[in-house]
């Protein structure tokens, strides 16, 4: 899934930035420093916005394109922060054959975002995930810790409306 540039304004704190600078200093000059630094950066900021990747690129003295190449290659890295409400929609085999893609389409329509991204107000983030172990309830969607099962596309609006 191609990454989507985040629409949420960057709001890293000086403390977070200082922590990242320390990690960069620790790894600078070592071969293969990009991965551990990006992992640490994601731990510190929760995601890898452009501002953070520029900091990594300048700190390690490597091109931003190289940093972004790594960040966009590995599924473990996310370019978007998580929303106040994190939606995970299962696209595993059971959910898929029970119509999860239609439900996903309905969520996308409603929120105007694609999987891997976040609404501009930071309220909802959307991810498509693999099996969450509730195949009996397929198709399944989780919003934070709430589980919704046996979903149909027409239920999506009412469910999302419950979250303020």
């Amino acid at each position: 899934m191609p990454n989507v540039k985040t629409v949420v304004p960057y709001n890293g704190t000086p403390e977070q930035e200082a922590r990242l600078r320390a990690v960069i200093a620790e790894h600078k000059g070592q071969p293969g420093a990009t991965m551990p630094v990006l992992q640490a950066a994601q731990e510190i900021f929760g995601y890898l916005p452009e501002e953070v990747q520029i900091m990594v690129a300048e700190g390690l003295e490597i091109p931003l394109s190289e940093v972004y190449g790594v960040a966009s290659f590995y599924a473990q890295f996310t370019l978007n922060p998580k929303g106040k409400y994190q939606i995970s929609l299962c696209l595993g085999t059971a959910c898929y054959v029970k119509g999860a893609s239609d439900v996903l389409e309905a969520v996308q329509q409603r929120l105007g975002i694609k999987p891997g991204s976040i609404t501009p107000d930071g309220k909802f983030s959307l991810d498509a995930c693999r099996c969450i172990g509730a195949c009996g309830l397929a198709p399944v969607m989780m919003i934070n810790n709430d589980v919704y099962g046996r979903l149909t596309p027409d239920q999506v609006g009412a469910i999302l409306d419950r979250y303020e």
Binding site: P2, K5, E50, E51, Q53, I54, P63, Y68, G69, F73
Partner: protein, 588 residues
């Protein structure tokens, strides 16, 4: 020190090569060609495409010969049924994701991928994807990228990162979604691309091409109200012939002039003439800085790729840049002032077209600080050597049949000093020829400054001139420029005068020059052959020093005054400003 030699057998032929040689190179020395796609010697040696696979006795699977080093007693087979089958299948899979609009593609008959398909005998693409749509990115002034034709060989990425140390493109995403792009898939115009075009000449397919401005030139030529003036850069005369199947390093100056005239240009001038003005201005500036203690080292400003790199990566060095406009811009400025006045033509009715070895020149002509006091931009359209060759072809001009022509003299007469501008070290040498005479008062013998010639990335020399040591450096390829600047900043390198060219080897190897396929580039020193033709022309010229050019002398006498005069400054100089590397506000 002699390298240890290794003997191996390739297709039962015994080959002895230095240790560390790759199987592909060893085979080549034995007269065996191993087809390849992603391989571009010294630039991209990553074994990514698997076209160059061979059988090595004892190895579990086929190996990529472009990265596989030879070893003693090794037995290699390059042409077995298994190898041929594997290459065909690989290429078919590459083609399955390649938009095959070959007939209308910018690369058309010059495409390495197409050539490879013919060579490997691909007679059908079983998995062709006919639904691929163009994926055009044309935000920058110099380049068009169509990722639907990209084979992900990564040559462009390597040349951008390693040779140019700019690194604005990379591989984004993964798996089937993998594509070449800028970080965050920003447009090329939004990142710190220097427009050098080295990615274009490295690309084996039509995925990268220069932005074609020939349409604008045709429109100007067809407009009876416009007076259209053309000037080719020094290096174009020794490369244009390659587009017409002439050997690399053929000087076609005379034919080029005739072709330009037959295309319908009202005046065929020479940017070499402007290069002589550049030397007068730059030489004067250098002498002034030496005498009055200006910012040293002084750094040349002819290469717009280098200028942009400096503005973005080394803004602290901007005071060191010569304030001279590049020869292209001086050419345009002189046409739209001196020539316009002499010929009695309103500069607004003149269209200046430059033929350049360079894609960054397309960017340079748009730069606002170049604008003249009369409101005109010095140059209206900048086309590359390749674009000129296409115009000549389209006009039905049989290039190799053309008689030699002469430039229009008013701004067409030039010297040997100007013609060598096209090779790395040439601007330095040309400047020294003039500066030395002014400093010492006498003629310098010999006239050649061999220390700054050649294809080495960084060349340095010291000259004793009128009781002082002048230390000079000529570097080409932006990674070498970076190395020199790092050295200058940390004090390990000390110079008075530096020439930087963005492209390795200088303009003769520019991003707008004829594209030689990897198969030629990997085994022939293309830039050296082209440069040799320039030095040969210089040697045979009656006048070899810019200050002895009678046109230059006349223009200063009648029009500009002295080199470095107020009027010369107004027309021929400009200043550069720092530019941001990233478009996002970077708070760190």
């Amino acid at each position: 020190m002699d390298k240890k030699m290794v003997t191996l057998k390739i297709n039962d032929i015994s080959v002895t090569v230095p240790e560390g040689t790759t199987v592909l190179e060893a085979a080549r020395s034995a007269g065996i060609k191993i087809p390849s796609l992603c391989y571009l010697k010294d630039i991209n040696e990553i074994g990514a495409c698997r076209i160059c696979v061979v059988e090595v006795k004892g190895a579990k699977s086929l190996v990529a010969s472009c990265v596989y080093p030879v070893s003693e007693g090794m037995e290699v087979r390059t042409n077995t049924e298994r190898v041929r089958h594997s290459r065909q299948l690989t290429l078919e899979l590459i083609l399955s994701n390649h938009r095959m609009d070959c007939l209308t593609c910018a690369r058309n008959a010059h495409c390495e991928l197409r050539e490879l398909a013919a060579e490997l005998g691909i007679d059908a693409v079983r998995y062709a994807n006919d639904e691929l749509l163009p994926r055009i990115e044309d935000s920058a002034p110099h380049l068009v990228r169509d990722n639907s034709k990209c084979v992900l060989c990564r040559r462009c990425v390597s040349v951008c990162r390693a040779t140019q140390e700019v690194g604005v493109i990379g591989c984004n995403d993964r798996g089937f979604a993998t594509h070449i792009g800028c970080a965050f898939d920003r447009d090329l115009s939004e990142v710190d691309c220097v427009s050098c075009g080295q990615c274009i000449v490295a690309c084996p397919t039509g995925a990268l091409s220069e932005k074609d401005d020939t349409g604008k030139v045709w429109a100007a030529l067809n407009d009876p109200t416009k007076h259209v003036v053309v000037g080719p850069a020094p290096s174009v005369r020794v490369t244009l012939g390659e587009c017409f199947k002439m050997p690399i390093g053929t000087n076609v100056e005379g034919k080029m002039v005739t072709a330009l005239r037959r295309l319908g240009f009202d005046k065929v001038f020479d940017v070499n003439n402007a290069a002589d003005f550049t030397i007068m201005e730059e030489g004067t500036e250098f002498l002034q800085r030496l005498k009055e203690g200006g910012a040293l080292p002084m750094i040349t400003s002819c290469s717009p790729g280098w200028i942009r790199y400096c503005e973005q990566h080394h803004p602290d060095m901007l005071p060191n840049l010569s304030t001279c406009k590049s020869p292209q811009q001086m050419f345009g400025a002189l046409v739209k002032s001196y020539y316009a006045e002499k010929a009695g033509i309103d500069p607004k009715d003149i269209v200046v077209v430059s033929v350049m070895p360079c894609t960054a020149k397309k960017y340079e002509v748009q730069r606002e600080e170049q604008r003249m006091a009369n409101g005109c931009m010095p140059v209206d359209i900048s086309i590359t050597t390749r674009e000129l060759s296409r115009m000549i072809q389209r006009s039905g001009i049989l290039f190799d049949h053309l008689p030699d022509g002469q430039f229009d003299p008013m701004l067409g007469l030039s010297t040997g000093a100007a013609v060598i501008f096209g090779a790395s070290g040439g601007v330095m040498e040309a400047a020294l020829r003039t500066v030395v005479e002014i400093l010492t008062g006498g003629e310098m013998k010999p006239l050649e400054f061999h220390e700054v010639r050649g294809m080495k990335g960084i060349k340095e020399a010291e000259y004793q001139l009128a009781g002082r040591t002048v230390r000079v450096c000529a570097a080409s390829g932006l990674h070498n420029a970076k190395a020199v600047l790092d050295g200058v900043k940390n004090g390990t390198m000390q110079y008075d005068f530096i020439e930087f060219m963005a492209c390795p080897g200088g303009c003769i190897n520019g991003g707008g020059q004829p594209i030689q396929p990897a198969d030629v580039r990997s085994f022939t020193d293309v830039p050296a052959l082209r440069a040799a033709a320039l030095y040969k022309q210089d040697e045979g010229m009656p006048i070899r020093k810019s200050h002895e050019n009678p046109v230059v002398q006349a223009v200063y006498k009648d029009y500009l005054g002295e080199p470095g005069s107020h009027k010369a400054h107004e027309l021929l100089h400009c200043t550069y400003v720092p530019q941001k590397r990233y478009r996002t506000e970077n708070k760190f």
